[in-house]
Symmetry: C2
Subunit: 334 residues, 2 copies
Amino acid sequence: MAITSRDVARLAGVSQPTVSRALRDDPRVSEMTKAKVRAAVDRLGYVPSEAGRALSSGRTRRIGLLVTDLENQFYAHIIAPAHLQLEQLGYQLMLHTETADNETIVERLIANGVDGVILATTTVDSVVPLRLRDRGLPFVYFNRTASFADADATVVEPASGFAAAASRAVALGHSRIGAILGPSNTSTAQSREVALRAALAANGLDLSPHNIRRGPFDTRTGDDATTSLLGQLSPPTLIFCANDVVSYGALNAARRLGAAVPGDVSIIGFDDLPAASWPIIELSTIAYDLTTMAREAARLIARRIEQPDAPVLHVKYETSFVERRTLALASPSA
Amino acid sequence: MAITSRDVARLAGVSQPTVSRALRDDPRVSEMTKAKVRAAVDRLGYVPSEAGRALSSGRTRRIGLLVTDLENQFYAHIIAPAHLQLEQLGYQLMLHTETADNETIVERLIANGVDGVILATTTVDSVVPLRLRDRGLPFVYFNRTASFADADATVVEPASGFAAAASRAVALGHSRIGAILGPSNTSTAQSREVALRAALAANGLDLSPHNIRRGPFDTRTGDDATTSLLGQLSPPTLIFCANDVVSYGALNAARRLGAAVPGDVSIIGFDDLPAASWPIIELSTIAYDLTTMAREAARLIARRIEQPDAPVLHVKYETSFVERRTLALASPSA
DNA sequence: TGTCATTATGCTTTCGTATGCATGGAGGGT
DNA sequence: ACCCTCCATGCATACGAAAGCATAATGACA
């Protein structure tokens, strides 16, 4: 019932292989024949079968993007640019969530015949990269890396952003600093914690254990942790959050508790998502070029597929500090 | 290099077709043979090739989800539940954006060999449904429908929500009502406008043309339209927004202009996205069960694929009004 | 012990495209 | 006029799984 390259061949008066070659612009096919084939394609409304092509060529031109939480705003801002960039490179994006256990995920990626994978939510101890390597399936790390790091990656360098933020914090009189950190088994949480501690130390500050909370990179973590932090006798006057989405939760908790931001407590995020600059939010945050980074991850995986032996690339994105409403003078009551 | 069902067959001492049947739990294969096959599968780490399966069976178990703007929060809240539900039904979700022209989209859907499509951003005059019908590719409408409506659909019934909202608005003394409506070529904008006008009329109110703005369902529309509405000599005291995402823009504009919400102007949204109930937003809005609706759309397309002649279903979702901070007494200065 | 039904399995072909190899035909050089 | 070269195209087959059909093995029954 579906139109095949044979139907096109019959109408164009050529053989099926010639149709195949003409459509992929093979130089061995004459211009005249190509024109005939294109005309036949148009008349029949022929569209090459992805399945046939995949089976024959061993390539699907599909890339898997592995994430955990699709509702999380952060991922929306990755998916959109990655999808667009891959489309421009002639690839299709397939979403995969880590609902099942890791072994199943890898099997599913293989089963769905992706040519490569973008890992956006790896934990440092994940076996996924190893399994992918065993299977010979190319992959790149996006944002997070695993301890097995012998692969292309796009990573954020948090040091400069935290350095700027910490020095502003000191200038504004903050001394009791709180932090809501991400899960310790993520490279992002680890590198941000290191960078934050270093930046604070460079400014004569430190992070007391009772002012530290940890949790997944979601709004609820920010909400719960802030509620807990502000419930202390002598609460922090400034809270660094694992990322912007966590900050939203922090802002929510503060509002619920009647704590003014930035009057009673200042909040600093990480990522500079579009909503961070909304007038109703105005979040101070550590910024980098997330969109470019997502596009770069797409480019890297395409490159790795097309040039399997290209040198491994770690593309780094520098951070800066964006000061907005949620950071102000430390509350005098402190 | 990849492991095929033939390799499994060889190891298990059976034929390739038997492997195929054993793995799909064909009752004609004995339990003992199935066990042998499964053992061989495990030892080799065999994963069936999607391409081979697709070519042979004519099915891909992939569903396309067609949206416009992946960054839009609204779609994140569709994608997540739809993805999950499809996974549970044994299907894979493929995102498609309407970047290219409509004809290209349909071709791409066919080329990528989806078994069915969920249309989430149809316009009433779109040719996509017609083309899909011509190609014999099953589809369902999600939220929006086109004028060619002979297909399964999940739709929102805005009447009850607007009725409740309008009566509360009157009780709170609002008389100058503004509206930021969606694009006139979407069924959702149309049905919401009808419902809003009817609800206002039932309460002795109406919508003056100078208090109406229109635009895409995004934050920027809300921002621009609100800036324009509030810039008038006698601005509305209450603005109904096309949806929550538009409302966020309205809140931003009000904040930027120094207009207090709800002191100077009240805002009502539509969708009740998770963020609407955040303490820092507290948006009054018209609510329905978006998550269930997305899952239902997934179920409908699976059903249509598996039972092509099943009766066409239009599943309707009732709305209610959720009153939060952004609605209050009409400003006395009015 | 022969026949038949039944069950389990194998054989063969198919799906649509891509590719290595064979071949036909045109053109140029001697 | 013949041979060689080169270009354009066709032929045959491969990719991996699924399904129709054929058949071997098993058991029941007369």
